[in-house]
Amino acid sequence: MMTFLRDRKVRDVLWQAVATIGMVAVIWFFVRNASDNMVKAGIASGFKFLWRDSGIEVPFNITGYKPSDTILALLWTGIVNTLLVSAASIVVATVVGFTVGLLRLSRNWLLSSLAGFYIEFVRNIPLLFFVLFWYFGVLAALPTPRDSYDFLGVIFLNRRGLSIPTPTEVTGFRLALLAIAILVATQIVLARWARARQARTGRDFPVWPVGFVLCGALPLAALVAAGFGTNWDVPSLRGFNYRGGFVLVPEFVALFMALSTYAAGFIAEVVRGGVLSVRQGQIDAARALGLTPGRVVRLVVIPQAMPVIIPPITSQYLNLIKNSSFGAAIAYPEIVAVFMGSALVATGQAIEIIAITLGIYLTLSLAVSLFMNWYNARHRLVTR
């Protein structure tokens, strides 16, 4: 009768099925239990609150959110703000981290000591302290609105943030962006052609100077031209504050500075470890071929160090994204502050809100992990 159980594959599948059913049953039991108890205690539950009016002000948003929008829109604003500060910090932390990590290995004693000091300083300070230090440091360093730093009479910097003008209509900028896209595409085609020609004939083509003109100077010219052809909403002092334009709030700047400088310290050590994992023989061989020190690093050391660097750097990125929740301590309106703070207290639906927030962080982290794994697999050296 039960002979099919003797098949190992069948048994494995059965065990998997039993484990899955058991897990689902346990989760179902806890969810059910929690919701029954909440109903008994008179606590509202369910996800309908997401469509309620939020009534919560968010001083910094690029989603066009208004307090009359729903709590779902508030959640979205929080997610966008989290992504914004995380993405900006990841880029800067990576650049600074690589630089500091390589400087740490420099043979110049002063440079390597400075880099070492920076790394030890950053890694031995709690992040919350770091965030508050930047926040109150930034605030204390800036003047009151009346005594703002004034750049050309259109950009103003004070304790309430950096007020920059915004265009009132964007046709000119759309055209400029189109032009820039064409220029960048040209540069990519040119670079491919130059590489192919170098492989064929050995002749170098000045890719970098041309690239500078195509991707730097000309786009700038296009943007300036668009800027002059557009009407601007220029900030002006009205009563207490500058109104109009876009305000980059000090909370963003402080959190961005704290996260990027903090993560950079850790990334620098990861980079150092990765570089040290490349065998000295490889570097000697590259030098023997007559490569310049810059090219040794760029063409020989970094490509071999990357597979060692990427997995730990991925976890630094994940840490950084999760650490952006420290923004809540300084009123930066990211997901924890607006959703787990304001929205939670406004609705009282703690379980739902915390579950949603967990889900969002999980999704973000998994997405970053997947991307980094893909990147690592793609750039893995082909070895024999």
Binding site: G42, P59, P67, F240, A328, A331, S342, L344
Partner: protein, 346 residues
């Protein structure tokens, strides 16, 4: 003779419990009250630190109007006003701390609102402070009325009623303000003090206490204009009506004692000599009101003796006897032009 005596004793032994269980007053079960008695202290959820309301002084002793309420409850239930454990809670934590049963009640400047009552599974057991929201601004900003704050930046504690009230108030008047939400009151206060905001908003009583935290209190001015009504009082979980009864009537007893002229100084004399029927019922001489709630009959006597009546408590914590120097205002007996009013002890 001996046999009859034995039989009578046996009858008494068997009969007494039956008789007493049949005729004694049956009380509804109260898990919270039973737990408090078994534990020997009250778990009271208070504010993180608000001078005048709930604030741990430099000796680590909790003081304030809300703290006095917790003490009164302990005096009534356990006969000893010191049998309280204070759990400081933030604006965000407070509901979870109460719902989960970590505290027996909240006494922490919490405004009674409809949606809190309807959706959080909590009940409000009366009002021990009539609060009204206003703003603190720098004196040199020359702000006379709230509408002068148009275009200003305002710091506020996230998730408080003040956050919403301020946003609504300016929106209704088509005035634009920037509201910055901090997770803790103290963070919002220090950001305002650092110049991040033009104003900080909270209740006028809370502001009187928080003003002490500024670097230079004299540079700041509290506006007299009030933009809200924020009644505050003790909060309990849904269910356990007998515990709610105790919580509600302890507050009523504090107020009734003031209305009836019972103070911590004369309470012994009043208990012995007073001819007033209501005073006699309040202090447990007549009526056995404590039994009806399942606590000692001298519950109200203990409150007044150990903590004082509402007026004494007010003057000591937020009134003229304190650093806050708040006038009684709405928090005065109705007979003297205030809003304090208690149902009769009958």
């Amino acid at each position: 003779m001996k046999f009859i005596g034995l039989a009578a004793a046996a009858a008494c032994l068997v009969g007494a419990p039956i008789a007493s269980s049949a005729f004694a007053q049956q009380l509804a079960p109260s898990p919270t009250l039973d737990a408090v008695k078994a534990r020997g202290h009250i778990e009271c959820g208070v504010h993180l630190g608000l001078p005048g309301f709930s604030f741990a002084n430099d000796k680590g002793e909790w003081t304030g109007l809300d703290v006095d309420y917790c003490k009164s409850l302990a005096a009534a239930v356990l006969g000893d006003a010191t049998k309280v454990k204070y759990t400081p809670t933030s604006v965000q934590q407070r509901w979870a701390v109460l719902q989960s049963g970590q505290v027996d009640l909240l006494a922490r400047n919490t405004t009674i609102t409809f949606s809190r009552n309807a959706t959080l599974g909590v009940d409000f057991q009366g009002i021990n402070f009539y609060e009204g929201q206003t703003f603190v601004v720098r004196t040199k900003a020359k702000v006379a009325a709230v509408k002068d704050l148009a275009d200003a930046t305002i710091c506020v504690a996230a998730g408080s009623t003040e956050e919403k009230t301020a946003a609504d108030w300016f929106r209704e008047r088509n005035l634009k303000v920037t509201i910055i939400n901090f997770q803790k009151n103290d963070d919002a206060i220090s950001a305002y003090d650092q110049g991040r905001c033009d104003a900080y908003t909270a209740g006028i009583g809370a502001l009187a206490g928080q003003r002490i935290k500024f670097k230079d209190p004299a540079e700041h001015q509290i506006l007299t204009e009030i933009i809200s009504n924020d009644p505050q009082g003790p909060v309990t979980r849904w269910g356990d009506e007998r515990w709610q009864l105790v919580v509600r009537w302890v507050l009523n007893a504090q107020i009734a004692a003031e209305a009836l002229g019972v103070t911590s100084k004369n309470v012994g004399e009043m208990k012995a000599k007073s001819q007033s029927a209501e005073v006699r019922r309040l202090l447990g001489v007549d009526g056995k009101f404590g039994d009806m709630m399942g606590i000692s009959n001298d519950w109200a006597y203990n409150i007044v003796k150990q903590v004082g009546n509402y007026g004494e408590s007010y003057e000591r914590t937020v009134g003229m006897g304190s650093a806050l120097k708040l006038k009684r205002g709405a928090n005065e007996l109705w007979t003297k032009g205030g809003l304090l009013y208690t149902p009769p002890f009958q």
